[in-house]
Amino acid sequence: MKKIFLVLIAITITLPIVFILLLSLFSYYRFPLLFPKDFTTEFWKTALLKNPMFIPSLLNSLILAICNGFLSTLVGIMTARALVRHNFKGKSFIKTIYTIPLFIPSIALFLGVHTVMIRLRLINSYIGIILAHMIISIPYAVSIFIPFFQGISLDIEDAAKVLGCRTIGLYKRIIIPLIVPGIFLSFSISFLISFTEYFSTFIIGGGRVVTLATLMYPYINNFDLGNGATLGVIFIGTNLLVFFIAEYISRKKLKTDSYLFE
């Protein structure tokens, strides 16, 4: 029973993706055909070679996602460290508000952010988009690092300090090695959020900064089967590749089985 249920779930998620792959390679799909016919490479040629926006949008997506991954992880580490190890005024305030961006309806949140971006002249800029993506990635990063810092015993840090370890040394030799799995996880989740985000990229990028996600919009709006499917395969493929590389590195370095949700 359990096995059947789990396999069914796996099929439900995989099935549409198989169809998308087929639709990017076959052009004839009239009702009531179940599987598309007539093999063609036209859609792939259009997407990869003829679309002048393709390469820039792919690069934009990657640049934004990598920057967001690094910066959100950094802010996540800093905030979690402060919350776990330090006592300061307003600690409980920070504890209550750090997840708040996830609970505000995103269109309302980003239209608000949009008004600030206009005043700061950050519209149409990479920096503006990265900051917007950070707002929705940092809550995850902080929640990832809190348990990691709680897991580092104070005794280890004190021992290091007694042995003459300065702050930088403490981070380099003790703290960073212990939170490396968290860094991988936080980076991947932030990367993913930025890579798949549509609305904030669109309104803050103002149509000037095109990413893979915003490039897809017209095809989806017009329900352009072949070209839409091809862009989707490229999108999912790129994402899988990035995660495959990250997993490979983490397996080599950390010797853990699966780093994304172990």
């Binding site: 359990k2 096995k3 249920f5 789990l6 779930i9 796996a10 998620i13 995989t14 549409p16 993706i17 998308i20 639709l23 009531p32 179940l34 802010v75 800093m78 905030t79 402060a82 330090h86 006592n87 300061f88 920070i94 508000i97 750090y98 708040i100 961006p101 996830l102 609970f103 505000i104 309806p105 995103s106 269109i107 309302a108 239209l111 608000g112 952010v113 008004t115 600030v116 971006m117 917007a132 707002i135 993913l192 890579f195 798949t196 985000e197 549509y198 609305f199 996600a213 919009y217 095809y219 989806i220 329900f223 839409g228 499917a229 989707g232 999108f235 899988l240 995660f243 949700f261 172990e262």
Partner: protein, 291 residues
């Protein structure tokens, strides 16, 4: 020594600046504009007129309730499915199936919402893949006898997209927590004669209730405030509140700006509170079923 004392404040400076400037500043910005104070456009003065216009507009309440209905349905289905998948996953001891399911759940997580909209159109259309399946097996005679599932009044298409995206999200986070629950609990429970359902209720849900709670709230909030899914898949009437807000936002008439911002403020504050109420109720519910 002064530096030591300043350390925590330096550590929280980036998050404070980011949130303060963009969330706090954004809220102040939209409140000012909603009151009709937009000096750039030569609009001065403060009045709550735009709020009255927005609230008394036809179908405003309907839109809001419709969005709450969608979010509630989505989060309840996705949370239930997510928890059931996670529990089945943990108790299924077959390694290869576990690997397969985990990989496919991760696959579900990496597809963007906007693309799941495309998948929904492909699958649920009257000439879509489900309709073709039923037609080819002879269950339906014409594509028209397949029910309208997208752009429909009940919001089935929208709900399907959010469930498709939300379930893997909740399942993966809950699996992550449940995997750490020691087997000892299960062994003790089994020895004391509890069945699978009791174990789930008394052991697994209470120990992962925090994760269930916040993932469920995130999905609820996302379904309430996401633009792309609600806008692309909604019927003409009723319109989800976020799609309504976006239509106002792209209206070129500058006189509409205060109304847009008034609706924005309402969604920001009221939406946030509704998520809070949902979270609180769910918390009570989780506590009750684990008794």
């Amino acid at each position: 020594m002064i530096f030591k004392k300043a350390t925590p404040y330096l550590l929280i400076l980036p998050i404070l600046l980011l949130y303060g400037l963009f969330i706090g500043g954004g809220l102040i910005g939209i409140i000012l504009e909603s009151l009709g104070h937009i000096p750039v456009l030569g609009l001065h003065g403060f009045s709550i007129e735009s709020y009255i216009v927005v609230v008394t507009q036809k179908n405003f309440i309907e839109s809001f309730l419709y969005s709450i209905y969608i979010s509630l349905t989505v989060s309840l289905i996705a949370s239930t499915l997510g928890v059931v998948i996670a529990y089945t996953f943990i108790t299924c001891k077959n390694k290869s199936i576990q690997t397969l399911v985990k990989k496919t759940l991760q696959l579900g997580l990496i597809i963007p919402y906007i693309y799941v909209v495309f998948i929904a159109m492909l699958m649920l259309n009257q000439t879509g893949i489900f309709a073709r399946l039923l037609y080819n097996t002879g269950i339906i005679a014409t594509p028209n006898s397949f029910p309208e599932l997208i752009f429909d009044r009940k919001g089935i298409g929208i709900i399907w997209v959010f469930v498709f995206k939300g379930t893997p999200f909740i399942a993966l986070f809950v699996i992550n927590v449940m995997a750490r629950i020691s087997n000892t609990f299960e062994d003790v429970g089994r020895t004391l004669g509890s069945g699978s359902i009791t174990l789930l209720r008394r052991v697994y849900i209470p120990l992962s209730s925090n994760t269930i709670l916040w993932t469920s709230c995130i999905i609820f909030a996302y379904a309430l405030g996401s633009f792309e899914v609600n806008y692309l898949l909604s019927s003409i009437s009723p319109v989800p509140i976020s799609a309504r807000l976006y239509s106002l936002f792209i209206n070129p008439d500058i006189k509409v700006i205060p109304q847009t911002m008034a609706l924005n403020v309402i969604l920001f504050l009221l939406g946030g509170s509704i998520v809070g109420i949902y979270g609180f109720t769910l918390k009570q519910f989780l506590r009750r079923i684990s008794r």
